[in-house]
Subunit: 275 residues, 2 copies
């Protein structure tokens, strides 16, 4: 039997993966969850038919959403991930000498699936510095003031359970929850498919934070491949930060030079956020 | 009727485009040629079932293969493109004050199809500074010594007619055909699919030229999306060049800041070329 999984990147374009085995499917309280074993990209986590990660290129997204804000901050002690139930972002955070790394995931079934099927990602959950909370990040963050040094929003696409994670009210609460040197980053999709979202999020962040910046990375299995991350910073200018020349953690995509250059964005992306 | 074109990026992964209309198909002396009108990406040029360009993102590849070497050189007067029969690279070159831009394309049918179906690209052919030669670039280049300031190899994948464009003997001939400050660039595929090729080409270029460098751009419709270009330079160090802060030509991807940062390559790509 020849089995293929297809992701509709839009209604007129799709990416298909030859599948060895369907390891798990489940309807959780929030979404449809599947773990597939693909020929080309290894294991894949799928939520509501959208590829969340593949073992072939997950390192790119997870390294870039974690190391850029942490190195920009310089000495983060307490870090929060909102979303990111697969554990990949947490794993990268824990490569730094942080004291505590908290993760708030609304859907505990994502964490369970990762523990069972994605050991390279869920390895992070057993670190003594990690604390996991299964609840809505929007409610969670309201309880904190001046508490986290870095907050990372590692969400699904802005549909379904993640919609509130792209709203200005939420970013206001994040601002309050950050310490005085605090840094915030959110994944903000591809400019090829979500230009309006990027524009709106950037504008909200620039309204709330003294510094706002967009950086990019290339994630081949995400629609549009050119992926954006939007950063808000209370005190440190992300465009003018001293990045140490030596990288004292293991990384396959991130380098100090990539850190400095990832804030150089293509002309058409600059146009999107400047309009 | 629902019509889809699928490109096998490997035997286990494919990208599919919903098609409005098949505008043209033809078996040329060298390859199968098709021009499709897609819903998502506009017109597409397909050679031997491989996407050569889509109107949605062709600007990225063409700007980056042209402006990076031309700006690195600083004052190129005579520029050669080997391949590139669609005209996109030539169009970008002609945004610079060059005196002559030559193009050698083995398959005249590609040029004809572009003239008929891709007016935004073939516009370049009518520039008085452009000269078009329909012959094999490998034979063509042997006739020149100390002649071109910049040579760009804008080839198809390293199968079929393009195989010889990735051989060291050809790069030796290019070295001879370049003037003393001469710069050479070739498209060298994605490190996700052609790591061995990139390693081999880089090693050949580094053997022949005093300076060798790899830079990247993101082309969403190319397999792997993270695209590499390998540069050889006779006198100018591409990593330490003064890039003017103002861009005096129109570009949608290229900026002076992108120019400087595109030479920062991900750790795993650095590993490929350093081994």
């Amino acid at each position: 039997m020849e089995l293929w999984f297809s992701e509709y990147q839009s209604k007129n374009i799709k990416m298909s993966y030859k599948i060895k085995e369907v390891l798990h499917t489940e309807k959780t309280k929030y979404q449809n969850l599947a773990v597939l074993e693909s020929e080309e990209c290894g294991r894949m986590l799928i939520l509501d038919d959208v590829v969340q990660l593949t073992m072939k290129d997950e390192f790119i997204y997870h390294e870039m959403i974690a190391h850029v804000p942490l190195v920009t901050h310089g000495s983060p002690e307490r870090v929060l991930v909102i979303g990111g139930g697969d554990g990949g972002t947490l794993r990268e955070i824990l490569k730094h000498p942080v004291k505590e790394a908290h993760l708030v995931e609304i859907d505990e079934k994502v964490i369970e699936a990762s523990k069972k099927f994605l050991p390279d990602l869920s390895v992070a959950f057993s670190d003594p510095r990690a604390k996991i909370f299964c609840e809505d990040g929007i409610a969670y963050i309201k309880r904190f003031k001046n508490y986290y040094d870095v907050i990372i929003v590692d969400s699904t696409d802005p549909v379904g359970p993640a919609v509130g994670l792209f709203r200005k009210e939420f970013y206001n609460d994040i601002f309050e929850a950050l310490t005085e040197k605090g840094i915030f980053v959110a994944q903000t999709e591809s400019p090829f498919y979500y230009a309006d979202l990027l524009k709106e999020v950037y504008s909200s962040i620039a309204d709330i934070f003294p510094y706002a910046a967009v950086y990019t990375a290339v994630v081949p299995t995400y629609p549009g491949a050119l992926w954006t991350f939007t950063m808000g910073s209370k005190q440190i200018d992300p465009h003018n930060v001293e990045v140490p020349n030596i990288c004292n953690f293991e990384a396959k995509y991130y380098t100090p030079s990539i850190h400095k250059s990832c804030f150089s964005i293509p002309a058409f992306v600059k146009d999107i956020i400047s309009k």
